[in-house]
């Protein structure tokens, strides 16, 4: 069994911390890979192919979960904020920024632009224990981690290495600013801004980047606004300037054009390679130049107005773009007479204009683009800062999109939750896990619980008690933001909630006078025991209990992927009775976890059927038992399962088929639910929109922008207790009405001896024919409302 891998005595943790001092809290987790992590027991993973690869890795190297091996599973990597720093991702895919490089090395942390400044904080403070320069650690982070990872090298953990080059603080701030942006938003904005960036790269003069480094985003924004207004003005005049306009206007146009064009090439080069920081910069610089240019243009316009008559013909010549150079030469002569400085400038203008002509011939649309730009300008704010601004806006729109009937549920967002910059309140392991849960790499309540406890264990490992505080009080406080982060990444499952509550209870019960090392040992042991008893041992017990309910020739219907059901089938086949069991797997189109289940069962040699959840009625007459795994069981006997379980229960009830629910008792909840919508989670609806049907797969891709339309993916549903025939837990096989007793036992262990032995009914023998005995339990069209009286209950108690 895969559960056995979770045996985690830990030795080297304490000393490793102390060496680095208390300020460097999380350095310790970078110690040698002997740490038993095993987050996400592979058996419990309700994941896709990628996750399976991952889990097989995990078994061999328990530590590899937290390290970022590039050859790892193809985790969908969100577009990192750093990628935005490029003018376009397509332009130079092989020349990413350093930030992007370091993040690409880590598939897990890649999406969180915020991490970089944060993680870099301790190193900037000089806390990197080896004092290595940042670049070296980055290169280490991006290399294949597993084989070549040197033991005992603290800085080789890539989660920490994601770091902003310190030479460009602006880039760092930009990365920090972009944290709130979602993946989609980033992509969208990248698309939107790309044409304008290119446009600006032709219009903006390049200037020194060093000045701009300290410029704040706001200032940049204002400057850029100014710039765009100017461009707007010029563009507008250009548009309005017909053939009969006075001289001043064409002159002005020439000035802008000549001023703009010579620097176009260098600007585009630098911006494409240097990214956003440099792009903002020329924008601001240009605005100053533009102001000067404008003034000059006004002066010249005045002069031109004085010499109206003489210049009229020249102006007419100058209207055409081709004749512009000759005309400006004439202007030069005139200016030379008046001022020497003006002459120098005009020379430059003339040169520039020649280039402008060339450019205009090559890019006849450039003026048009500028005009369009000018039209857009009032709506789109500023391009440098505007990206961030728009991101915020769309994020707000996302979150403010409340679904009718489900407005109380947190809307799904694909972007990671925002983290405080330069704060070490959230442990890297938690952050990594949060991202994995968000990406559904770790999925399924059991896997999530194991992974959460493993991450919290690391947190406890690396925890250092401040000198003025108690461990129990301080740790209990510090654990809160970590759990909150996990919750923000994906709402906690009830089982996770229970596990965290258990851990908090353990922490609170630590006496103040217990030394830190001992207290940590206590907590680690408690976590290990919790996982071992409540999950690993319990799973095998449930499988055995469940197998006892089956008989030879049974056809089992199950839903999606469930490790417990797999175990149960395996136990039934390999047990003493060697039953022949076939399994029908009902699956929902998204996420198609049932295909994994089918593969696993087929590999075991079980006759397997794959059906859609909508189609189960047609195979129901063949099915003898329906077996599903629960996410949680409520106090009133209602069973929370993956969305679709309740429909299956109903189908079972209408066909008089026993509905058996497998559940660990640690997942029992003190809550009572009567419907599925009060407590639920909204999943990623884009998976629904991209349905397998070729005809309709791209019909609703823009549903977020469509009025009156919502797409909802519920993650859980709640099966009413009346539809559940029997509940299989590791403690016993129970009716749903016995749940409160179990809850009392689990959550109030002291009251155990006060329970009478007669209730709940303890089932000991093998139920050879569960369906016949319990048919009364699922009356066909009139679901049972109340638990029958004690005399009626007798057939269950054997």
């Amino acid at each position: 069994m895969g559960y056995d891998t979770y045996v985690l005595p830990n030795s080297r943790t304490g000393s490793a911390h102390r060496r680095h001092g208390s300020a460097c809290k999380y350095q310790a987790h970078m110690r040698a890979p002997g740490i038993p992590v095993n987050e996400g027991n592979p058996r419990h993973k309700r994941t896709g192919k990628a996750a399976k690869n991952r889990s097989s890795q995990t078994e061999n190297q328990p530590d590899s979960e937290l390290q970022c091996s590039p050859d790892g599973p193809p985790v969908e990597r969100p577009v990192s904020a750093a990628c935005l720093l490029k003018t376009s991702a397509e332009k130079c895919p092989d020349r990413p920024l350093k930030v992007a490089n370091s993040q690409q090395g880590s598939p897990v942390t890649g999406g969180k632009g915020k991490e970089s400044p944060k993680n870099s904080a301790p190193q900037r403070k000089g806390l990197n224990p080896e004092g290595k320069p940042a670049k070296r650690t980055q290169s280490k982070g991006s290399r294949p981690g597993t084989p070549g990872r040197a033991k005992g090298q603290p800085s080789s953990s890539p989660t920490i290495n994601a770091q902003v080059p310190q030479s460009s603080p602006l880039a760092a701030s930009v990365v920090a600013d972009a944290t709130a942006s979602t993946k989609q938003v980033l992509e969208k904005s990248a698309e939107r801004t790309e044409p304008r960036q290119a446009n600006f790269s032709t219009t903006c003069p390049s200037s020194s980047e060093n000045k701009q480094g300290k410029m704040s985003d706001q200032k940049l924004a204002s400057l850029c606004q100014l710039l765009e207004n100017i461009v707007l003005q010029h563009g507008g005049k250009e548009m309005s300037s017909g053939g009969t306009k006075p001289v001043s206007v064409p002159q002005q146009n020439q000035n802008t054009a000549t001023k703009v064009s010579p620097v176009a090439k260098p600007a585009s080069e630098t911006s494409s390679s240097k990214g956003k920081g440099t792009e903002e910069h020329p924008g601001a610089e240009k605005s100053r130049e533009e102001i000067e240019m404008e003034r000059k243009a006004r002066k010249e316009a005045k002069k031109a107005g004085k010499k109206k008559g003489g210049d009229q013909s020249k102006a007419k010549e100058g209207e055409g773009v081709e004749d512009g150079s000759g005309k400006s030469k004439a202007d030069l002569k005139r200016e030379r007479r008046e001022k020497q400085e003006a002459q120098r400038q005009a020379k430059a203008l003339a040169k520039a204009q020649q280039e402008a002509e060339k450019q205009k011939k090559s890019q006849p649309q450039s003026q048009k683009i500028i005009r369009e730009e000018a039209k857009k300008a009032p709506q789109t704010k500023k391009f440098a800062d505007g990206r961030r601004f728009r991101d915020k806006k769309s994020v707000e729109k996302d979150s403010s999109r409340r679904i009718p009937l489900l407005g109380h549920l947190t809307p799904y967002t694909s972007h990671p939750p925002s983290l405080p910059v330069n704060s070490d309140s959230i442990h890297p392991a938690i952050r990594t896990l949060g991202q994995k849960m968000k990406d559904r790499v770790v999925d399924g309540s059991t896997a999530r619980v194991i992974a959460t406890l493993a991450a919290l264990k690391r947190f406890i490992n690396d925890y250092r008690t401040p000198e003025s505080c108690d461990l129990s009080r301080d740790l209990a406080e510090k654990i809160v933001p970590n759990v909150a982060h996990l919750h923000a990444c994906r709402p906690l499952a009830i089982a996770m909630d229970n596990a965290v509550r258990f851990l908090k209870h353990k922490i609170n019960s630590i006496e103040p006078n217990v030394p830190e090392a001992q207290a940590k040992d206590l907590l680690r042991t408690a976590i290990d025991e919790y996982v071992c008893d409540n999950i690993n041992l319990a799973s095998s017990t449930i499988a055995t209990h469940g197998a006892q309910l089956l008989k030879d020739g049974d056809v089992i219907l199950t839903f999606g992927y469930s490790a417990l059901v797999c175990d149960m089938v395996e136990a039934a086949r390999n047990g003493s009775s060697c039953m022949n069991v076939s399994v029908v797997v009902a699956d929902s189109p998204f996420p198609p976890t049932g295909s994994d289940m089918v593969k696993q069962l087929a590999a075991m040699g079980v006759p397997t059927y794959y059906r859609l959840i909508t189609d189960v009625t047609h195979i129901m007459h063949k099915v003898t038992k329906v077996v599903v795994e629960a996410e949680s069981v409520m106090m009133n006997g209602a069973v929370q399962g993956m969305c679709g379980t309740a429909g299956l229960a109903l189908a079972a009830a209408t066909h008089d088929t026993p509905f058996i629910v497998l559940c660990h008792t640690y997942k029992f909840s003190n809550n009572d639910l009567t419907d599925s919508l009060v407590v639920n989670e909204l999943g990623d609806a884009n998976g629904i929109v991209n349905c397998p049907s070729r005809e309709y797969c791209d019909l609703l891709t823009d549903w977020k922008d469509t009025e009156n339309l919502n797409v909802v993916r519920l993650v859980y549903d709640v099966t009413p207790a009346a539809l559940v025939t029997v509940l299989v837990t590791e403690q016993s096989v129970l009716p749903t009405s016995a749940v409160p007793v179990i809850i009392r036992r689990v959550f109030l262990p002291g009251t155990r001896e006060h329970e009478s032995a007669a209730w709940p009914p303890q089932v000991t023998g093998v139920w050879s024919d569960l369906g016949r005995r319990l048919t009364w339990h699922t009356t066909r069209h009139r679901p049972r409302r109340h638990w029958p009286s004690s005399t009626e209950r007798s057939p269950i108690v054997m």
Partner: protein, 363 residues
């Protein structure tokens, strides 16, 4: 051959019935229906009904027949051929049976008029034995019969064409303000019904996507374009959402003679969820979908390729399939919204006796 309702039997290639005559007209109809209906050119039952009527009109107008019996035999052959070729299609059969009824009625009317009373038609109605399956003898040659039949068929065709509008007119009387309606898949009748009702009422529609066809996406798109607040959900979310739903309105492919419906896959789950939460389930159906087929109708498998997730390589030993239709039993249907009025499932038999002649129950 009795089967459990909803049981799926692998489709076997039936030999064409010997009754299929080699009349070119018949073959033409059969080919036409198979080529178009099976290949999905006629997506809606409405178009199937209209096309069938068009062809039947041609048969009545062009075929060589002298007496009513000759025509009836020809029509019957066509019906048999369609049934043999496309056992899953009910609407063309319904149309044939409806025309048979029209022919008999017109014949009797003509005959009664010439005989000076309606006596004969009543006696035929009373004493004909449906079990024998013999069509009534209409052996007299009545010259104006052809025109009268064509006239009645034109009336019937107009009725078919108007049915969608007539159904949609009832929307306001079925939906009140701020209701939550659930529907599943795409049905033009339901769409028209809801769109019309949305002019006067404000309500919220939850659309299930209806795998494996996923035409709920199209429905959602149409509904939100019509200005109705729409939420698209997965099929597995039907049960959880049902607790908030006031009415379920779905379309159907055909209404069976017992009051059940034969419709898209997923409807059975939807209907039982509605039943569980005591939510009324309305079925929008024009009368031409009322079929004489009983609930033992054999279901058919579709290819499993529709179901398998695109990226999953399932091992070949796994049995993958999906049925073509779902059967919803009459106890799960609250009411049918037809072009005339709402009728209960228990009243379907009466509707059938009005629509079709008893002798044509078994083609």
């Amino acid at each position: 051959m009795t089967r459990k309702p909803g049981e799926v039997v692998k489709e076997d290639s039936k030999p064409i019935t010997a009754r299929l005559q080699s009349s070119p007209r018949n073959n033409y109809l059969v080919k036409f229906c198979r080529a178009n209906a099976v290949l999905g050119k006629f997506v809606t039952e409405q178009s199937k009904a209209e096309e069938s009527l068009l062809l039947l009109e041609k048969i009545v107008a062009d075929a060589e027949w002298q007496t009513g019996s000759q025509l009836l035999n020809q029509l019957r052959n066509v019906g048999t051929a369609i049934q043999a070729k496309m056992p899953w299609e009910t609407t063309p059969c319904n149309m044939v049976q409806r025309v048979i009824k029209i022919v008999i009625d017109e014949y009797n009317t003509c005959k009664g008029a010439s005989d000076g009373g309606n006596y004969q038609s009543i006696s035929q109605m009373m004493f004909v034995d449906p079990a024998t399956g013999d069509l009534p003898k209409c052996t007299d040659v009545i010259p104006e019969l052809r025109d009268r039949i064509l006239e009645a068929m034109a009336e019937h065709k107009a009725e078919v064409e108007q049915s969608q509008e007539l159904i949609s007119l009832q929307g306001e009387s079925k939906i009140h303000n701020d209701e939550v309606i659930m529907t599943c898949g795409m049905c033009p009748m339901v769409l028209a019904f809801l769109t019309k009702a949305a002019r006067r009422r404000k309500f919220h529609v939850i659309v299930a996507e209806c795998a494996p066809k996923y035409d709920g996406h199209k429905m959602a798109k149409c509904l939100c374009t019509a200005g109705i607040q729409t939420t698209l959900v997965q099929d597995c979310a039907i049960f959880p959402m049902m607790s908030r739903v006031n009415k379920v309105i779905i379309g159907t492919r055909s209404v069976l003679s017992n009051g059940g419906i034969k419709t898209f896959v997923g409807a059975a789950t939807l209907a039982s969820a509605a039943k569980f939460y005591s939510v009324p389930l309305y079925v929008c159906t024009p009368t031409y979908k009322f079929s004489l087929v009983a609930c033992e109708e054999v279901n058919h498998y579709n290819s499993g390729n529709l179901v398998v997730p695109p990226s999953a390589n399932l091992p070949p030993s796994v049995d993958v399939a999906v049925a073509q239709f779902d059967y919803v039993p009459p106890e799960n249907v609250t009411s049918f919204i037809t072009n005339n009025r709402g009728i209960a499932p228990a009243y379907v038999y009466r509707q059938l006796s009005e629509l079709y002649h008893p002798t044509s129950y078994d083609l």
